[in-house]
């Protein structure tokens, strides 16, 4: 009986705290996305012919690890029986990817744009114990390009 109550308690705690944490994370993501809106991150591999001369190009990356809560896990395992869209993991992956892109942008602060952006996702901690509490990692990387400013271009010839 105690075991059953324990499981129900975990589910309820997972739902309440998990939902709260997720909302908070989304608010933070949206705020930072507005902050970084002037720094484009694009998937293009090359610059346009007419773009300004490049001063520097460095690789930047950002990664984020987000864990699933107990409620989401139970919901997903129920979903595994019947099939269909696993809604409870969608927000998880969405958050991890956007967070990773934001961290990449944070590490590229001061540059002009990020080229060739790629995002990769992997599950970690899946087999850390038999219960398989999964976390996902999203890794975003790209090439941060800084254009020469007009004046500077004149000086360096």
């Amino acid at each position: 009986m105690f075991d059953l109550l324990f499981v129900l308690g975990l589910i309820a705690t997972g739902y309440i705290i998990g939902t709260w944490a997720e909302r908070r994370h989304y608010r933070s993501i949206e705020r930072r996305e507005r902050e970084f809106i002037r720094l484009p991150a694009v998937t293009l591999k090359k610059l346009d012919a007419g773009s300004p001369p490049v001063e520097s190009a460095v690789m930047v990356c950002g990664s984020a690890v987000v864990s699933v809560d107990y409620f989401k896990r139970i919901l997903a395992s129920l979903r595994n029986i019947f099939g269909g869209t696993v809604k409870s993991y969608e927000s998880l992956i969405d958050r991890a990817r956007r967070e990773a892109v934001l961290r990449m942008k944070a590490s590229a602060e001061g540059t002009s744009l990020i080229l060739n952006v790629r995002i990769e996702t992997s599950a970690i901690g899946r087999y850390a114990n038999k219960k398989g509490v999964a976390s996902i990692e999203a890794l975003a990387y790209g090439t941060a390009v800084t254009f020469k400013r007009e004046g500077a271009a004149f000086h360096t010839g």
């Binding site: 059953l4 809106i37 002037r38 979903r79 029986i81 019947f82």
Partner: protein, 272 residues
Amino acid sequence: MKYTPRLPQRNVNVTPGSPLRDFLVLLLGLTAILVGLYFLLGLAVNLIVPWLPMDIENRLAAPIVRRVVVKKDVPGQEAEVQRLLDYLQTECTDLPYRFTIHVSDNPHVNALALPGGNIVVFSGLLDKLKSENELTFVLAHEMGHYAHRDHLKGLGRALVFMTLSAVVFGSDNPLANFLSHGLYVTELNFSRDQETAADEYALVALNCTYGHVSGAGEFLRKIDEGDGGGNGGHYFSSHPETSERIAHLKDFAKMNGLDAGPLAPLPADFNL
């Protein structure tokens, strides 16, 4: 190419809708399917059980008996009860079982029909008895369950239950462990119809042994007064309401011309 900074209007990567609603729908759907499967497989068990060969039942019995029966019991009582049981088996019934009695030191007023002809009588029940007739009725009632193979039906359903829970939740999870504690009770629960049929079987055997059916009603009334259906517990709570049972036995006795008569005393060395 000109870059125009803007944020997406809505998030297409996350399906809208409450996860709680999803959770409830899935949970209810799963429960409904499992309950349906449980009833269907339960029906299948009832159909299959009468065809189960005796040697398979005996093989099934060993681990269950080992779990329920603790061997530190009262040998004198056990021998007396076994004697009554043997008499019933040879003179009044002809069931394809080799019956073995186990007296268990347990305050519950209860008797169990385990597979393979292993009858467990709790000492709490023996303490309540006033006559040999009552004891014979209890034994014959259990034999009635064997005659209809009710004990295997309960066991089969419990097996279905365990299998379903293992399939859905995995073999080692808190919920399955919690449920398996209840297995011990589940496997020994009988339906009202099964109890009534076993009562009728017992009454006929009682009449065969003593030439009358006194003792049956007395025993049932005692169970009712002593425990109010409560402590009589696991076993008697699933039996039909006692007054209904007694009334039914009276009707049954009248219909079949079974009479009352003097009660035989318990064996001398019984209540030590």
